[in-house]
C-alpha cells in the first residue's frame, strides 16, 4: 500500500506547473480566447516535445512508455492552467481507439496528429440531434469505409486533425478514423460557454474512413475510453478547484474591509476551508480512479464514475465560492475566475449528470 507519487512523478508535476505558469499565465486567457483559432496552436508541438502527448505511448512508437498515472498528473496541471487545446480530446477520448494502429500512435506522440471522439450516445447529443435520431452509419467500399450521418456536441471538433467515430456498421458499432481534408467532414463549431473547449457538430457525407476496431472488439475500447475520459476530467476538475481556491485565499488575505482582511471572518474563511476539504477529497478520488484506470483494476468503472461526479461538483462549488469571496470583482468578465467556472460547468455536463452517475453507482451497490 503506497498512495504516493514517485520522485520522477513529482518532478513531472513540478516541471509541468512551472512550464504552464510561464506559458499560460491568467493574463493570456482573454487573448487566447479572442484569437482566430481560439487556442495557441504553437503550444501543441511543445506539449509533444515535453513528452505529454505520448506519455502512455510505448517507446517503440516514439512515446515515453509511461502510463495513465503520468497522464493524470498532466491532466491535473492542464486543468489548473486552464489549457486551451485538444489534449483531453486527443489523449483521453481518441487515444484508446488510435492505439489499434501503431502508425497513428507514433503521429500522436510526435505531435503530428490531434483527434477527438464522436460518440454514438444519444445522451451526449443535443435535443435537436436526438430528435432527428442523429447517428453515423458506416458502409464498406473496397478496403475503405464510407461514413454518413451526423453527430453533435463533439469536443474540440473545430480544432482537431481527425475524428474517431463510433459508427453503426453491418455488424454493430465499430470505431473508425476520419481525417479532415478539403473541408470535409462538415463542421459547425458552436458558440460554447467554455471557449477553451468548444463543442461542434460533425456531418459526414460519404466521407472516407479507416476502420480502427470492428464491432465486438470496439465495445471494450468504447468502455475503456469512457473510464479514461471520466478519470481525466476528474483530474482536470481537481486542477480547476485548486486554482479557484488559491485565488479565493489570496483575495481573502489581501482584501481589507472594516479594517481587517476579510479572511479573518469565519463566514469567509470557513467557505474556503470547505473548498479545501472538498478539493482534497476529490483529489483522493481522482488519484484512486487514475490508478485503477492505469492498472485496469476491476473497480476502474465505479472509481472513474465516482471521481468525476464528485470532483466536478467540487470544482463548480469551488469556483462559486471563490466568485462570492471576490465580491463584485469576481462577477466581472475581466477577472479570470469565470473562465475556470465555465470549464468546471463543462466538465460537470460531460457524459452524464452527477445524479445519473450516482444512479449508476447505486445500481451497482443495490444490485450487488
Amino acid at each position: 500500500m503506497d498512495f504516493s507519487f514517485s520522485p520522477e512523478q513529482d518532478q513531472l508535476r513540478a516541471h509541468a506547473r512551472s512550464f504552464l505558469e510561464k506559458r499560460f499565465p491568467a493574463t493570456r486567457f482573454a487573448e487566447i480566447a479572442m484569437s482566430e483559432d481560439g487556442w495557441d496552436r504553437a503550444s501543441w508541438p511543445e506539449l509533444a516535445r515535453l513528452g505529454w502527448t505520448g506519455a502512455s505511448i510505448a517507446e517503440a512508437q516514439g512515446g515515453a512508455g509511461q502510463g495513465f498515472v503520468e497522464e493524470a498528473i498532466v491532466f491535473e496541471e492542464l486543468g489548473r492552467a486552464l489549457y486551451a487545446g485538444p489534449y483531453f480530446s486527443t489523449v483521453a477520448l481518441a487515444l484508446p481507439a488510435l492505439a489499434c494502429a501503431p502508425d497513428l500512435l507514433a503521429k500522436v506522440a510526435s505531435g503530428g496528429l490531434t483527434a477527438t471522439l464522436a460518440p454514438d450516445d444519444p445522451v451526449r447529443q443535443s435535443a435537436g440531434a436526438k430528435a432527428k435520431g442523429a447517428a453515423v452509419e458506416a458502409r464498406r467500399a473496397g478496403d475503405r469505409w464510407l461514413l454518413r450521418g451526423e453527430t453533435d456536441l463533439v469536443p474540440d471538433a473545430g480544432w482537431v486533425d481527425a475524428f474517431v467515430v463510433e459508427a453503426r456498421g453491418p455488424d454493430g458499432i465499430g470505431l473508425y478514423l476520419a481525417e479532415r481534408h478539403d473541408a470535409r467532414p462538415l463542421i459547425r463549431v458552436f458558440d460554447t460557454v467554455d471557449t477553451t473547449r468548444r463543442l461542434g457538430r460533425v456531418t459526414f457525407d460519404d466521407d472516407s474512413a479507416r476502420i480502427l476496431a470492428a464491432p465486438p472488439a470496439a465495445t471494450a475500447i468504447i468502455a475503456s475510453t469512457r473510464r479514461r475520459a471520466l478519470a481525466a476530467l476528474a483530474l482536470e476538475a481537481v486542477g480547476v478547484a485548486s486554482f479557484a481556491l488559491a485565488l479565493g485565499v489570496e483575495h481573502a488575505k489581501s482584501r481589507q474591509q472594516f479594517g481587517r482582511p476579510i479572511g479573518t471572518y469565519q463566514a469567509v474563511s470557513h467557505k474556503l476551508a470547505d473548498t479545501y476539504v472538498e478539493t482534497e477529497l476529490a483529489r483522493s478520488l481522482a488519484y484512486w480512479a487514475a490508478w485503477c484506470v492505469a492498472e485496469d483494476d476491476a473497480q476502474a468503472e465505479l472509481a472513474a464514475v465516482a471521481a468525476k461526479a464528485y470532483a466536478a461538483e467540487a470544482a463548480v462549488a469551488a469556483c462559486e465560492r471563490a466568485i462570492q469571496v471576490h465580491g463584485g470583482m469576481g462577477f466581472t468578465w475581466d477577472h479570470p475566475l469565470h473562465r475556470y467556472y465555465k470549464r468546471a460547468l463543462w466538465i460537470e455536463s460531460f457524459d452524464r449528470s452527477g445524479a445519473a452517475h450516482r444512479a449508476e453507482i447505486a445500481q451497482a451497490l443495490v444490485a450487488g
Binding site: F3, L245, V249, A252, P261, S269, H270, L281, V366
Partner: protein, 385 residues
C-alpha cells in the same frame, strides 16, 4: 503508487482477520460504549489483543511495541472495524498518553507507565476539557500548585471518556495565573485512585453514559508525575493532540464502511426502487471512498515525514458530517418505527446510531475548530481572533 497490500501487509491482514474471527466475543460485537457488564469483558478483550501482539503496533520496540510502520496500524484499524470488534479499552493510553510519554517522559516514567498501557493493566483517560474551556483549551483553570514535594490539584474536567474505569489520567492544568495563558500550563499524570478524585458519569442524549466529569479536590500528586517542565504543559499537550488524529482516520473510515454496508442492505430491503434514496446512498458511498483514499494519502505523508498532515482534520470533519447524514437517511428509511426505543433490531440500531452521531461533530475537535485549523494552518488565512 500501488494501492494493493504488499506481501507483508497482506500476510498481516490475513492473520489478523483469522484471529479476529476466532477471538472477538459475540457479546462485544457492535458495542455501544463501555458500560455495565461489557466492562469486565472489555478488560479481558484488551488483554487478549495485547497478548496476541496487537497493542502498540507502532510503538518502538525498546518500549515494548512492535516497531511496525504506520501502515500496520491502518490495517489493524480497518480489520477491527470490519469485524465490528471493539477497540482496545486503552485507546487513550495507547494512542495519546503513551506516545506523549515516549516523546516527553523521563526514563523512570517510561519504565513505570508504558508496559502497563500495553498490557491493558492500566486504563487511561484524558483530563483536558473543562466546563469553561472546550475549544479554547489554553484557558483551562484547574489549579496545579507545587507544595513541598508534591503538586496539589483543584478543579473540574469534563467529557472524559473512560474516566469511570480509568487507572490514570493525563491532566492539563494551570500552574501560573499571570502572563501568557499558554505559558502557565503544566501537564501531570494523576492516579485516578488518589483521595479527592471523584468521577461522575454524564448521560448522553442516547441514554448511555460513555463520558464523565472528573472533580479534583486537594488531590496530592507526587512531583515525579510531572511530564515536561512546570509551565511547559502546552507543548506536551500539543504532542498528545497531534497523536489524536494520527491514524484516527482509519478507525473512522472503517466504522463508516460498516455503516455504509448496513445502509446499502437497508435500502435494498426497504427502499430499493426509490431514486432519491438511491442518490443519497450513492453519495455516502462516494464520500466513504473519498475518506478512505484520503487516509491512504495521509498515511503516505505520515510514513514519509513522521508527522501527521492536515488530512487528519479533513477526515474527522467529513466523517462526522457523513455519519450524521447517513444515520438520518437510515431512520428516514426505517420510518416511524425508528422512534421505538425497545429491542435490539434494525430500528433500535439506527435510532441509537443517529442520536449518537450528533456527538460526532463536537467530540475530538468541533467542526468549527477544525475549519479554523484548516483556514489558519493549511490555507494560511489570518487568525479570526
Amino acid at each position: 503508487m500501488d494501492l494493493r497490500d504488499g506481501p507483508e501487509e497482506a500476510a498481516f491482514r490475513a492473520t489478523l482477520r483469522t484471529w479476529l474471527a476466532a477471538n472477538v466475543p459475540a457479546e462485544l460485537r457492535g458495542l455501544r460504549g463501555w458500560t455495565g457488564p461489557a466492562l469486565a469483558l472489555g478488560r479481558a478483550w484488551s488483554k487478549r489483543l495485547a497478548g496476541a501482539g496487537y497493542a502498540g503496533l507502532t510503538w518502538p520496540k525498546e518500549y515494548g511495541g512492535a516497531g511496525q510502520p504506520w501502515r500496520y496500524q491502518a490495517v489493524y484499524l480497518e480489520e477491527l472495524a470490519k469485524a465490528e470488534a471493539p477497540q482496545h479499552l486503552g485507546v487513550i493510553g495507547l494512542g495519546m498518553a503513551g506516545p506523549t510519554i515516549i516523546a516527553h517522559g523521563r526514563p523512570d516514567q517510561k519504565a513505570r507507565y508504558l508496559a502497563e498501557i500495553l498490557s491493558a493493566d492500566d486504563i487511561w483517560c484524558q483530563g483536558f476539557s473543562e466546563p469553561g474551556s472546550g475549544s479554547d483549551l489554553a484557558s483551562v483553570r484547574t489549579r496545579i500548585e507545587l507544595v513541598g514535594d508534591h503538586f496539589v490539584v483543584n478543579g473540574q474536567k469534563v467529557w472524559s471518556s473512560y474516566a469511570h474505569i480509568a487507572d490514570r489520567c493525563i491532566l492539563l492544568g494551570r500552574s501560573a495565573v499571570t502572563g501568557e495563558k499558554h505559558e502557565g500550563l503544566t501537564y501531570l499524570v494523576v492516579d485516578m485512585k488518589s483521595p479527592g478524585v471523584e468521577v461522575r458519569p454524564l448521560r448522553q442524549i442516547t441514554g448511555e453514559a460513555e463520558f464523565n466529569e472528573i472533580f479534583f479536590t486537594d488531590v496530592a500528586v507526587p512531583k515525579e508525575n510531572l511530564l515536561g517542565e512546570i509551565g511547559g504543559g502546552w507543548r506536551v499537550a500539543m504532542t498528545t493532540l497531534s497523536h489524536e488524529r494520527g491514524t484516527f482516520g482509519f478507525a473512522l473510515a472503517g466504522a463508516l464502511d460498516v455503516a455504509v454496508r448496513k445502509l446499502v442492505a437497508l435500502a435494498r430491503e426497504r427502499a430499493g426502487a426509490d431514486a432519491l434514496v438511491r442518490d443519497r446512498v450513492a453519495r455516502e458511498w462516494i464520500e466513504l471512498q473519498a475518506l478512505r483514499y484520503t487516509n491512504y494519502r495521509a498515511l503516505a505523508h505520515l510514513e514519509r515525514t513522521g508527522a501527521p498532515g492536515p488530512e487528519g482534520s479533513v477526515a474527522k470533519l467529513r466523517w462526522s458530517e457523513a455519519n450524521q447524514r447517513l444515520t438520518k437517511l437510515a431512520i428516514e428509511i426505517v420510518g416511524q418505527e425508528s422512534q421505538v426505543a425497545d429491542g435490539d433490531g434494525t430500528a433500535a440500531y439506527w435510532r441509537y446510531q443517529q442520536l449518537r452521531s450528533r456527538g460526532n461533530t463536537i467530540e475530538a475537535g468541533t467542526s468549527e475548530i477544525l475549519r479554523n485549523i484548516i483556514a489558519e494552518r493549511v490555507l494560511g488565512l489570518p487568525r479570526s481572533r
